[in-house]
Assembly symmetry: none
Homo-oligomer: 191 residues x 4
């Protein structure tokens, strides 16, 4: 599962091509040309194109574990979101691909793989949401699935807009702002 240096270069380029022109732009021809190698050379490094796409998808998860050891409640959620934002800043291509699950609908194997990843995230973050509700950081009467949507929906949209605008605003600033708003909004009303 550990990728070689060359494999990583290939995945980088694949992300770049996909970010630039969608899945239709990720062809073996384009990819090998972008890498400056011949098409068959690609097959030394990946069994087939699907494996490349799979490696792309794995990238989404790679550097951003949902588990935030030592952190709890909203702090853990905030840390996770922060990490996502940092990841995307480090590799802006991801912003245009990461939350566009539909891109991968063509390859149903990988699509289900992606959905599974999404579910895992939801479940893991769910723990932190419950903690936050128990700790009084979030109003306790919001069902978990809705809560997840209220928090991750805006984060996803933020990242997507940033990707679409090709870095047209400061993601870190707007991210912090969003988090602050969410935290304040979700705070249990002491009423």
């Amino acid at each position: 599962m550990q990728l070689t240096k060359r494999q990583n270069e290939i995945v980088d380029q694949a992300l770049s091509l996909t970010a630039a022109g969608g899945m239709q732009n990720l062809t073996v021809t384009n990819l090998s040309a972008a890498l400056g190698i011949s098409e068959p050379a690609l097959y030394r490094h990946f069994k087939n194109k699907s494996e490349i796409v799979k490696a792309m998808i794995n990238r989404f998860d790679a550097d951003v574990p949902t588990e935030q050891p030592g952190k709890h409640g909203f702090e853990a959620i905030g840390a996770f979101i922060q990490a996502r934002l940092e990841q995307v800043c480090a590799n802006p291509h991801l912003a245009r691909v990461m939350f566009a699950e539909e891109i991968f609908m063509g390859e149903s194997k990988l699509y289900t793989y992606l959905l599974a990843m999404m579910h895992k995230h939801k479940a893991e973050l769910g723990g932190y949401f419950a903690e936050a509700q128990a700790a009084g950081e979030i109003q306790p009467d919001i069902p978990l699935d809705t809560l997840y949507r209220v928090v991750m929906g805006p984060v996803r949209l933020l990242i997507k807009q940033w990707g679409m605008s090709e870095g047209g605003f400061d993601l870190r600033v707007k991210g912090a702002e969003l988090l602050a708003v969410l935290r304040k909004m979700l705070k249990a009303n002491p009423a």
Copy 2:
């Protein structure tokens, strides 16, 4: 711009195919087969494939005007969201396509078209958001762009999840719930 009956059938099928297997699944061959006609016959109704895709995109907007005549502030926003949910319920395929702008990245002409649509929405809803803030329905210190994300992010995610789960939950119920949570959360704290 007004589509014939046949053209509408074609767009329906195109949406269905795209919803089922992504843009890669929307081929002239597949489409004509699904319609039970020959490939050349398609070209009687649309100049080329791009025109079909464009017609698909126009569908997103068709029945759901952002402008909510006679309504104001949060009520207008709620009505818009409600209308979106109804639209998607009426044509579930839309749920799998509508907010997956990246699907169309391949056809850059159409992609920009789609982005423009998204911007228009944002601008138009922006007016209602401002109204809501002025009316004290929404905390006044939240910047408009963040506010848009906080509201539309969850709505998009909700619709997307509903599409992905293939109608696995009651969209109207969960939509109403989400709206209630948002309304309550965004309410200016009387503190």
Copy 3:
């Protein structure tokens, strides 16, 4: 199952190419070139290459039914063999392909299909052999499988040699001669 005119032309060419240079010579490129059409054009007539090969194999059987209505015993066998020889004379390419089952080993689906055909032949001719033994035309103590080999082995070799020698001898003459020898040899010794 009934082939169109164009499909028959394609199968003819496919046989010709295979006869000339083996299965490796039967490429979509070669085939379309030989037919003077483009490669994609082939796919209007056959779903894929395998279907073409399958149609080739069906040719083997097409004009030569094992069943010889109204004939019995050795006469039926002789008629069948005669028909095979005529078929091969009419389409000499068949001689180089028909009994080379191994050619098709690559495509295991078709290979089994071919083996099944071979078994069917064996079974059907078996009936005539039994009749011939009962009628005293063939010695009764020869087991059926061996009998089949003794008769069809030489016929196959004859046809193969004729194909390999590219019609270097008169198949009809040599075939008649072989049949005569076999009939005489197999005759129950009145001893």
Copy 4:
């Protein structure tokens, strides 16, 4: 011409692959993988793929000389056939390849080489057939080419069927039976 130990292993594997999936299955990639070595490593042992195929073909003849020193007439023929059967029993893969000359039609150089081998056999066995006819073991009025077909046709078919059935019957038993039938049948009728 004398093969090294490693070369022999390679030829063994080549036969095995060809027997399993036809010539299409004998690729440099498959072969090296089956041997557990890299592709370039193969080229240490053989100049190119053709040389490997040539070595395969030579195997057919290797252990089975047509000349049967000290033997004459039908005895020599029987001994030759016996030796063939033993050879094939010792290396069953041969049964699926040996008499499928058409497999090699692709490589015309090797194909002619193979045909030459077949002719040599025919010529050499021809001597023994003539002896057998002179000695009264075989009816004298059967032309030599037909005689060859009557004897070797069934033997070939027997071996082929054994190979195809993957050793589904006892080759030695059925071979002996066939030989007995042939001997008896061909015996000059004392009529």
